[in-house]
Amino acid sequence: MSFLSFAVGGAAGTALTPMPLKLMDDSSIWTQMWPWIPVPQDGEVSYENSVCTLCPGHCGITVKKVENRVVKIEGMKGHPVNDGGICLLGLAGVQLLYGSRRVKTPLKKVNGKFVKISWDEAVTEVASTIETMREKGDAHKIGCLSGTNRGTVPELLKRLLWVCGSLNFFHMPSVQDSYEITLRMMQGGSAMAGFDLENSDHVISFGSGILDGWGSPVRMFRAHSLWREKGARFIQVESRLSNTAAKADKWVPVNPGTEGALALGIAAVIIDESLYKTDFVDNYSSGFDSWKRQVTNNYTPEIVSKITGVDKSLILLTARDFGRAKNPLALCGRGEGSIPGSIKDFKAVHALNALVGNINQQGGVWAIPEPDYINWPEPTLDEAASAGVSKGRIDGAGKGKYRLAQSLFNRLPEIVNSKASSPPDVLFVSGANPLYTIPDTVAMNEALNNVKIISFSSYMDETADKADLILPNHVFLERYEDVPASAGLNQPITGLSKPVVSPQFNTRHVGDVIIQVAKKLGGHIGDAFPWSDYKTCLEETLGDKWEALNQTGFVTEADFNPTNDMSGFKTDSGRFEFLENGSVAEVLFSSVKPEGDEASYPLTLVPFDSMRLTGGYIGNPPYLMKTVEDTVLKGNDVLVEVNPKTASKYKLADGEKAFLMTPKGKACVKIYHYEGIKPGLIGLARGLGHNVNDRFLAGKGVNVNQLMGSKEDTGSGLDAAWGIRAKLVKA
């Protein structure tokens, strides 16, 4: 046995043995069997109907459960809003129920850190905060910001504030507010705007992202498909090729912010060529002649073409098609409608609807009565409360130049800075995340620095993180709540959101908390809340609707049909008002100029909405993040859309990093060359850049609201900013 043969034999043996392969195989098998790979538990399957409240669309949902676990959310068949369809946020609702973003127990901030407290302590803390404010004579400095102003929960909050002595109840503004104001001005009375989309044969949208989240998204998708089937025309007026513009029969690229002028230009052509409905205009409207004179004199196709950048021939063609259609319909409100916008734009678009006589007509705009089932007796106010209430609202809503607005939370930074009226010392926040969703988050954050925030948020979001006290509400799958109205739906509907699973954590219904706080305060305050708990309150309030709601999940007014009913105008003249006060200036288009000077900021930043990113108070669940395209987010970098022409002017390559600067802030972004955006604009998606404790959402991209400013609309006081001046500098 020589060393050589030993070495050769050894080498041959090592080379030929299957051992290495076997070990590799074994290791791959063993490493696939980790115990953390879950085996989903089997069990009895059941389905429960409820209503999704993640957006104002309020779709009916059917929740699939295995034993007591929610495994899937599906669209409810036969529901008037969505009939079986569902959007991706609704589908991902399960992840909001079980997600790590939940606030699991009441929390109190002590020395800048949250500590767990009991519910008794939390309720006592809230009650004593209110008590102290009232004793100081500062009851009017208690405010509340709610995601919505309809339904029993917002009403309970409003009532608590009222009996304590404050009228400062705010709700998050949206295009729904703009539409209500428009209807009040032109048709009188308070009503919501409903659109008979399904029966329209020609729809023109002035920047509304009707396939990007505007209105009730699923219903909008269904209506769009219906238009495709029956050959209805659909025109999108917008400066960016959004998903909506991409699906339109005709995309009318317009200078941003000039949509209202185009509406007036179209109206002028329709008047000029006598394409308007004389029956409606002559018999049911007032102020038409002076309105007509203004429009035809000031908005000739030539002038409008100059303002909007749209070819004269295209304006004529668009106007003629609209005027000649059988059931034309014009829509307003930019993107998904989270920023209310300029009332003048809405009035121009609504006047266009009136011109073609589609008010309360098939395929037109309907005035939907406000829900009226909440009829609680007026509470008795004690001395402190009366004193507080007499001080009125801090935002001026409902008075003077803000007489049309109900709530103007966007004015808060201005109020704090001007010291004109006293800002709130205590702010309840329910179903809202103003520190993320309101443009100019920096100013909002500063405005709230000296405010004690008491949050009812189910999730640890930006506002909850700044709060002094969090009393976590159940999420929508765990709680009862009435859901009045669906954005843009042309029939009155009330839904009932039901608990499909028992609460997963130590949370409590915000309605129960309000009642308990009131009872703790006692006296007139306690008397104003005679119910033992929220469910009793809800049951009594809904009365005979309760049974039906529990059975089917929704009730509608089957006989509601305002078509051809022109007696409904509640204006002084009893007619549709083209001019509210006969004032000429009202008609004229004035563009909302983006903040910043053109010399230092040659470009304009425009936020855009998409279905795959929620810009609202609930951040994207993990499944939604998966759907975000890599042309919007790559790693943690956000991409901004820039037209290749603009990009080459500033020598910015595709994928290159750059600094995006606006008068409000600066952010690092990546450049994405997109042909579908107008040269000179920068498109940035809403819904990124969250700063929350959720690794699937936090730190990804930039919150466009940090870079945006807010612009007060002269007609309403609501925010009307659609963009801001900006520049891009190579990083």
Binding site: V66, R69, G84, V218, A246, E629, E675
Partner: protein, 265 residues
Amino acid sequence: MEQVKDKKFGMVIDLDKCTGCGSCMVACMSENNVPFREDETDKLLSVAWMRVYKMTNRKPYPDTEVCYFPRPCMHCEGQHSGHSPCVSVCPAVATDYSTATGIVSQIYTRCFGCRYCMAACPYHARVFNWFDPVWPHGMEKSLSPDVSVRMRGVVEKCSFCYHRYQKAMEKAYVDGRKELEENEYQTSCTQACPAGAITFGDLNNTHHEVYKIAQPDHKHHGKSKNPKVFRLLERLGTNPKVYYLSSRKWVRQLGDNYRPDEIMK
């Protein structure tokens, strides 16, 4: 007893109706226990059975047009039954073509992760699990027992929600039936699509909506007789069972590779 007729389950996606919202993707993820990770922006690593691609006509502003292409597994039949690109290369018989349903299966426990099938699939419909699927604490409660959770090291893809077919068949057997109604077996994406852009059914059944729209010519490997309907990379001969409908020519043209001088039929 009479033999049950073979099915050929397929899909037509109406690209005129599709808005690119992405609900089909989430409907699929939620139905099929698809895992998620912290960073999902590298789409080569991101596990998704259904993916929506955004295509443009590459024209400058304002003549730009955009179209969305939802892409599930095409469940290719090939030139003769079962000659799907992936099935024919799998060394482990981990993926197979069912002549009874026309569905290309994926058996995770057989797969050993060689990824030949991924290389063979011209549609990028298959994804590899590079990572262990981990659900944050508490979120495993949302997992459905109908679909097994996949482990690292295996390939996965759209199954046309085969478990829904199994459930529907079980129910039919209990009722003493051997055939399903059209609406008894629908995929999760079809059911969820808010635009109603997806139509699913049996391409062999002339009464099914999917047959009426797709109008497959079974003598010519399922080529559609509807001039607005096309399939992706049809000329490769993969014979996919997912059809697309578009009234726009440039969109139909994107479905295959054409020479610059070639006139699309």
